[in-house]
């Protein structure tokens, strides 16, 4: 019934001042696919994610989500964003709200769900990310790993069709990275469409369907984890794989 890709980028360009951060990006993502976006820092990975849900505007090209054009201004973007969950490097939980309030905010403000079903669903989500006992706590009372798991639950509360992860483990202590990656792995296995910007190549190798390698605003190479790690094509990707795997 809905054919075509869930996300489609055509010739997307974006610059900050004189600095071209996305240079003619073409990318399509199938429903149910888990994509890892890798590349050196400053290569435009995060910017690309932020363009997909309209947090950043693009200069030329088109982005389509579920067949609808994504524009960073206008009313339509609110409806599109409500179908895309996003998880940030710095968690960005709302510090003046409890964990439960963080998760029920969007269903109550954006959706038409009542308080009771929203809270029930929030508790289910907390169960799913493994911290049902934290519902009444404030974000400041949680560890980094717990905060990020709440952030994932918050993004899932609107029942998104797509999840964007912007370096979700980069701000975490090593011992907490595992617990967040486990939640993401489960999500991928359940068939959630997700785009993950990460340096966790173990996760990429094990979980994702496709790795997209970006450098200097261009997609240099993309392929399955096996193709990417074992049969790397481009010099730049080879260099990157060497650096990240052998250190």
């Amino acid at each position: 019934m809905q054919d075509g890709h869930l996300v489609q980028l055509d010739s997307v360009r974006k610059s900050f001042g004189d600095n071209l951060v996305l240079d003619d990006i073409d990318l399509s993502i199938d429903r149910g696919a888990a994509i890892v976006v890798a590349g050196p820092s400053g290569s435009g990975k995060s910017t690309m994610l932020r363009c997909i849900n309209g947090l950043e505007s693009i200069e030329s090209g088109t982005i389509r989500f579920d067949g609808r054009p994504v524009k960073s201004s206008g009313r339509e973007i609110y409806g599109i964003r409500a179908q895309i969950g996003m998880v940030f490097q710095q968690f960005n939980l709302f510090p003046h709200m409890t964990v439960l309030q963080n998760i029920t905010l969007a269903p109550l403000e954006v959706g038409d769900a009542g308080r009771e079903p929203s809270e029930r669903r929030a508790r289910d989500l907390l169960e799913r990310v493994g911290i049902p006992e934290k519902a009444g706590d404030y974000p400041a009372d949680l560890s980094g790993g717990q905060q990020q798991r709440v952030a994932i639950a918050r993004a899932l509360a609107v029942e998104p069709k797509l999840m964007l992860f912007d370096e979700p483990t980069s701000a975490l202590d090593p011992e907490m990275i595992r617990e967040v990656l486990d939640v993401m792995r489960d999500l991928a296995r359940e068939g959630m469409t997700m785009i993950v910007v990460t340096h966790e190549m173990g996760f990429a190798r094990e979980v994702c369907d496709r790795i997209v390698f970006i450098d200097e605003g261009q997609i240099v190479e993309q392929g399955t984890p096996d193709e990417f790690f074992n049969h790397t094509q481009s010099e730049r990707a080879k260099e990157f794989v060497d650096k990240i795997i052998h250190h």
Binding site: N53, Y78, A82, F88, N92, A106
Partner: protein, 220 residues
């Protein structure tokens, strides 16, 4: 000549009536100042150019004219122009709108303390910009600027005496005290009690804000 205590007991009706006039004046002005101040702050940070300009003009107008001049414009000026404004409206309007300009600026500084990531997170959940402002940005901005708001409200309570001393001449604590002083000539005793009356209001405000601060403080 009667003593300090006798001055209070003999003129209790005047003192208490003046106290409650002042109380009413500052209570209503406080509500106006908070509501208008919040709206103006929201206008100044909205991503809409003309709203920024309107908010900016408001702040510069009300912050840069002495309260006493505002009171004269609001009362005598409007009457001269044929607007039948009464003393309460002129007094509350002037004091409330004047204080609102300071509150708007305090809140605006609080808005800047809320990280860009908070706005990104709210927008990414599908909240519109106005809702993001109302549910995420302003609640955090308020909590950040509670100490600054306390200072502004205390200043407002003290500024309320200007309303009684001005052409508007509401029978507030200061005005009633001057009346009693004119009858008794016991200047020190009378204004001792006037000072106590203002202290009751300012210290109550101080304690209330201290409570809000401990109750709503954000731990990050």
């Amino acid at each position: 000549m009667s003593g300090l205590w006798e001055v209070l007991t003999e003129h209790l009706p005047e003192f208490s009536s003046g106290f409650f006039v002042t109380f009413r004046l500052v209570a209503i002005s406080f509500v106006i100042a908070m509501v208008v101040g919040t709206l103006v702050a929201a206008m100044r940070v909205a991503p809409v150019r003309w709203l920024n300009v309107v908010g900016g003009v408001y702040v510069e107008f009300f912050r840069n004219i002495p309260l006493l001049v505002l009171l004269i414009i609001a009362f005598a000026g409007l009457r001269r122009a044929g607007v039948p404004i009464n003393g309460w409206v002129a007094g509350i309007g002037s004091l409330g709108l004047y204080t609102a300009s300071y509150i708007a600026e305090a809140l605006r500084s609080g808005v800047f303390a809320v990280g860009r990531g908070q706005i990104d997170a709210a927008l990414s959940l599908g909240l519109s910009y106005p809702r993001t402002l109302r549910r995420i940005v302003l609640p955090q901005a308020f909590r950040t600027v509670i100490p600054a708001l306390a200072s502004l409200i205390i200043a407002m309570i003290k500024n309320s005496a200007i309303v009684g001393a001005s052409i508007v001449a509401l029978p507030d604590l200061l005005k009633e005290s001057r009346q009693v002083q004119a009858e008794t000539f016991q200047t020190n005793e009378v204004f001792f009690w006037a000072a106590v009356g203002y202290l009751v209001l300012t210290l109550t405000a101080t304690l209330a804000f201290r409570y809000f601060e401990s109750r709503f403080q954000i731990r990050r």
